[in-house]
Symmetry: C2
Subunit: 336 residues, 2 copies
């Protein structure tokens, strides 16, 4: 990011008709956007949303509230415009692209971008979730998807996901990468019972013991315990940062993918905004670990990119504040 | 509010393609909107913003960071479209009306609605801020302003204010109405020093002692320590609730006006959304007192209606979620 643009923006914001600092985090966001984009007057519209979909072998172990078939059913719902993320995408004027990087079923629909690496990851209780080559292919698929959207002119990337079982993978990743206990990173997902949650924790603990990932090597952790959509998110974030495009992360799963990207390159965190903090307990740990403060706290636990899309208007407001407000001089207002 | 509509909406939301409750506060908002509007499919667009402006005699005591002339200068800035609230109004497609209920100076501009009660309140360290008749006129001016906007078709009312010295009035009101100490309700306003803040607290304490308001009578408190814009906000809120129109409160000053309205009629609180929690410490007290949880926490301390306007997209998202999302049946998605 450009430190000069940040300093220049900080000075400019104090000339606007408001007490210094009175727009709080909006002022911080405006500075960060200037730094990321290296633009004096950064824009975030139009935004683009990438929803990466993948299935998880670990669902065999009975860790999820919904059956695996829901991943493909929800992909169809996204394509037909009926899911929550579609509603919020229309509200903010975002283009939305669904990318199948690893759904277990086949979808024949030309509105879907198919970059399928495999029909779901392997059950990571029994073997690594992905091979090294598969993981790399998923990261590349994410990066390509982001670059395509960026080439089409989006000014802000919103990342989301769909994948039955993916809070299990994210809990495992976040536990290993942060050093937290599994119990601290496991939540109720889309609605499992207390008993099933305990089972989910035990499965993850056993899997971590058996896979024995190297916590200092994010790619090793991703390969052993991750998911195709999670690896794709890491890749999309790396590509957006490379292009100077701000990224809004969604919830727990997205943030686990972002963590892997940040471990690969710590500067990536300067390009990230945390859309919200979800009900999944591990999300807070992951956000703290990468030093990202959430913009919203609305008790969401849906995924798809919904929390990030809901937070987009805050970034839009920060950008407009920078470009549209009058200065004390322009408005002939007395500065104290 | 309609309890039937709330129950009906609660059932409907569980048929939508998302785990039950996974949209968190958005689901609560959708239910509340259905109750307020008595509509199965409530709408909040287009929104309308009322910015009430008034001056405060108490500024003679040196309680504010900016000189009194800034109230009139900022009214001109609002009319010219250069203030923060103008920027955020354009972003959300809101009509914006500035209403002069008590500015100290004259503004000759036909874009301004003039319902001036007096050229600023009296210095409440020396006498009551307003007479009974003035206070009633200000409440009526607020109600009329809201009713005019509602007649023009707005579906959600955003209330904001401008008035140098008005955090002093709000701190006094909130201290008396909640029973908190003045020290707990006084903050740095638009940017005073620690020393000046102590002075501000002492002035307020002394004024409360001298005016001796009746904490059980909100109109008595408002008359003795309030402001024209604050009384107008109370009136606007009462009118909007009467018309079944949801209201988004802005910050500390708005919430002090809302408190008076809620004390007059406790059912009013069901019509209110707290846009955000500001940096002024008394705001949190006031919100807790009326049982309103803020939608945003962005460290704002500007007023004008900015925090409420920034929160509007959350209400819009809740309304769209209710009206646009597909059900499990419609989308052929397996419900657990």
């Amino acid at each position: 990011v450009s430190k000069e643009r940040i300093t220049e923006t900080a000075h400019y914001l104090d000339t606007l008709t408001k007490p210094p600092g009175s727009l709080g985090r909006l002022e911080e966001i405006a500075k960060q956007l200037a730094g990321i984009t290296d633009q004096g007057v950064p824009q975030v519209s139009p935004p683009g949303i990438l929803v990466f979909a993948g299935d998880h072998g670990i669902v065999e172990e009975g860790v999820s509230a919904f059956p695996q078939e829901v991943t493909v059913q929800m992909i169809r719902n996204f394509l037909d415009g009926g899911a929550a993320i579609n509603v919020f995408a229309r509200q903010i004027g975002a283009s939305l692209q669904v990318v199948d990087v690893g759904a277990a079923g086949e979808i024949d629909d030309d509105r879907l971008v198919t970059k399928k690496i495999a029909a779901g990851t392997a059950n990571f209780l029994k073997t690594d979730a992905m091979t090294e080559a598969q993981m790399e292919a998923a990261i590349l698929a994410g990066a390509e998807s982001a670059n395509t959207m960026i080439a089409r002119g989006i000014k802000c990337l919103i990342v989301g996901e769909m994948g039955i079982g993916n809070t299990t993978a994210a809990s495992a990743l976040v536990a290993v990468l942060t050093g937290c206990s599994v119990e601290q990173t496991v939540g109720h997902g889309t609605g499992i019972s207390a008993e099933k949650k305990l089972h989910k924790s035990r499965i993850i603990e056993e899997a971590i013991r058996l896979r024995d990932p190297n916590p200092d090597n994010p790619l090793n952790v991703l390969k052993k315990l991750g998911g195709y959509e999670i690896a794709a998110i890491s890749g999309a974030i790396l590509a957006a940062a490379q292009a100077g495009i701000p990224v809004i992360m969604d919830g727990f799963i997205c943030t686990s993918g972002a963590m892997a990207a940040v471990r690969l390159n710590p500067y990536i965190k300067d390009y990230l905004f945390a859309g919200h903090v979800s009900q999944e307990p591990g999300h807070k740990m992951a956000l703290e670990d990468i030093g990202a403060a959430p913009l919203l706290d609305l008790g969401l636990k849906l995924g798809e990119g919904t929390g990030a899309a809901l937070a987009f208007p805050v970034l839009e407001a920060a950008a407009r504040m920078r470009s549209e407000m009058a200065t004390f001089d322009e408005a002939s207002v007395t500065n104290k």
